[in-house]
Amino acid sequence: MKRLLCSLVFCAFVMAAAYGQAPAAAPSCNMVPGWTQAGEARYYTADNLFEYMDGNSEGYFSYNFQNMHGVTCKKGDNTFVVDISDMGDSDNAYGWFSDTRDMRQPEYPVGMGGQIVPRRLIFAKGKYYLEIAAEPEGDHTPDLKLWAAALAKSVEGSTTPPAAFSWFPKEKQQSLKLAPESVLGLRLLKRGYVAQYDYGKAFVVFEDTPDSAAAVMQKLRERFTDNTAAKLGDEAFQTTDKYLGRLCFIRKGQYIAGYSITVDGMDPAALSAALAAKIR
């Protein structure tokens, strides 16, 4: 019997490998003692996640959602809805975590970054975004911590946040997230990180090559026609906009960094230069 079981597991592994897939990261209720499964396991892809969570699925899609394995677990009167989403890579997994965490609440040290509030656990590890929602009302923190440890063990991947997160100043930081598209609300700034401070909004946009970044800079100049060149990075300029306030764009290789909505008394060029200097 044991040999048969081993063979089956091996076959499943070989089949997954044959199709170029890692074995699925699927939660199981017996990861934490005392919990039992309620109902069938769930599996969703980008094609049918909509059926599970309606419009809220759009947020997942923005971060390169691939698929989700889920299960509902019960212990006494408590019910946990446990889901593991494959976001394709660690940047997107952490990006989705950064978008859904509540910056007013403390982080919880799990995976690349996590958060536990009384009825919710979220964290990112490797390419996975893991989440639990708890019922009924009350503080489920002790159980959520046990689950956080068990789930973290069950998936492989990095426990270090993407390097770009370390480029932004920590002091007075109100939020820091990956904008999966349209940074600053501008479609031509396709993807990047945005940090909010009480004195302005910092951003770093990724382009594929220095040439494509230079092309974006040119389009920015055409959009913000009243601009002044600055001698920073590979190229830079400052401008003002009704909604984006005083702002500065600096290109450094394939990156475009800067500050917008900079309050009086703060120099967007100096802030942007300091930010660009951190980019490695």
């Binding site: 089949m15 997954a16 199709y19 897939q21 109902g39 069938e40 396991a41 769930r42 599996y43 892809t45 980008a46 094609d47 049918n48 996640l49 909509f50 059926e51 599970y52 969570m53 309606d54 419009g55 809220n56 699925s57 759009e58 947020g59 899609f61 923005s62 698929n67 889920g70 509902t72 019910t79 809805v81 978008d99 859904t100 965490r101 509540d102 509030v117 009825r119 919710r120 979220i122 989440e131 639990i132 929602a133 708890a134 019922e135 009924p136 009302e137 904008a179 999966p180 598209e181 349209s182 940074v183 600053l184 609300g185 501008l186 479609r187 945005v194 909604y243 984006l244």
Partner: protein
């Protein structure tokens, strides 16, 4: 397999934050607003309709804030004169309402603000409402929906009573329900429950099945708000479909706006460019060119696009779950995800896995919208059985 209602409940539950203090009750002038305030326009003409019996004069293009990338897009939309903004307690993991509230700031008094609740009992949704008000930085909502209801039983007396209670308390002005699937099934219940508005998925691809339902709602004085107006075609979650043409969005939007039964639309707007495109579409008339674009698009997506009308449910004399099997084929042929298609196929009851459509002289299942059902079912058996 589908635990969607549970998921919504739990998502909302997990997002609930302690409300430090009850939302202050306002009986100020904002709540009696029924006509649009004057505000600057970007040049294109603003178009308004009345949202059913609510009396709210809403711009025919509203703003779906669900995936908006930056608060300045919301602020700019309000400045341009768009006056209907839609959020939900659970969008962006619970962070969307706060972003919208911050972006609107003092402009909130000049616009109509809608949000939604996700839980499934009266007491819980009232608690959610308090959280929504706190996060949005307001003391009332203009419209408050039960989120994602697709059958009458989901619109329970308990929850409707809670909505009415919130209305009496002045925390919401009007109550409604949002519906992503099977709108015709809930129309009578919406009327019976005396809801004020319905926000429904509605697009050019659903004309035949959902337009009569939309008209019936409007005739009953229920305001209709259209969402998903682009038919989810070629965008997120629809990767198997052909990519939509660049000029498609405005045509799709104008198709919905031209329906007198629809008061406003809430297309998701990611960025300023999209906002400006949709704003321009608002003032344009639906014309032959638009019809041509949509007709071509409909043909492109016809074999793929399931309109979730439910008309094929139960049609197969051998009991095959038709829409699901069509989807499994799409996994394999559309996405190159053969194992996924097979995995789902093999979860079907054995008696269904054993059916061979070639044994039937002709297929009893006819998709009214042209999805190639018989061909797709045979393909599923060929691939996975």
């Amino acid at each position: 397999m589908n635990n969607a209602p549970s998921r919504r409940n739990f998502l909302a539950a997990g997002l609930a934050l302690p409300v430090a203090a009850s939302a202050t009750h306002s009986t100020g002038s904002g709540q009696s607003q029924s006509s649009p305030p004057a505000r600057p326009s970007s040049g294109a003409a603003l178009q308004y309709k009345t949202l059913g019996k609510t009396g709210m004069k809403v711009t025919t293009v509203g703003m779906g804030c669900m995936v908006t990338s930056d608060p300045t897009v919301v602020t700019r939309a309000a400045d341009m004169g768009i006056n209907y903004f839609d959020s939900s307690r659970n969008y962006q993991g619970g962070q969307n309402e706060r972003m919208v509230g911050t972006a609107l700031g003092a402009k909130r008094k000049n616009i109509f603000l809608a949000s939604k609740c996700d839980r499934n009992d009266g007491a819980s949704i009232l608690a959610e409402l308090d959280t929504s008000l706190k996060e949005l930085g307001t003391d009332y909502l203009d419209v408050w929906h039960l989120h994602g209801k697709s059958n009458p039983a989901q619109i329970s007396d308990d929850m409707v009573a809670a909505q009415q209670k919130a209305k009496q308390q002045g925390k919401v002005r009007f109550i409604g329900v949002s519906c992503h699937q099977n709108l015709p099934a809930i129309v009578d219940r919406v009327i019976e429950a005396k809801l004020d508005v319905v926000q429904a998925q509605y697009s050019f691809a659903q004309d035949a099945t959902w337009t009569p339902a939309v008209e019936k709602l409007a005739q009953a004085g229920i305001g209709v708000i259209a969402m998903k107006v682009m038919a989810r075609a070629g965008g997120r979650g629809g990767a198997a479909q052909p990519k939509r043409p660049a000029n498609f969005g405005a045509s799709a939007l104008r198709w919905v706006i031209k329906n007198p039964s629809v008061a406003t639309t809430v297309p998701s707007m990611t960025d300023i460019d999209q906002l400006e495109e949709n704003f321009t579409a608002m003032s344009g008339q639906f014309g032959d060119a638009d019809a041509k674009i949509l007709s071509a698009r409909l043909e492109e997506i016809r074999p793929y696009y399931c309109r979730t009308c439910g008309q094929c449910d139960g049609q197969c004399p051998k009991g095959l779950p038709v829409p699901e099997m069509v989807r499994y084929v799409m996994y394999a042929d559309g996405y190159g995800q053969f194992p996924l298609g097979r995995e789902n196929f093999q979860r079907m009851a054995q008696e269904h896995q054993d059916v061979r459509c070639g044994d039937c002289a002709e297929c009893a299942v006819q998709c009214p919208h042209g999805v190639h059902v018989a061909q797709q079912l045979s393909r599923a058996q060929e691939l996975f059985a």
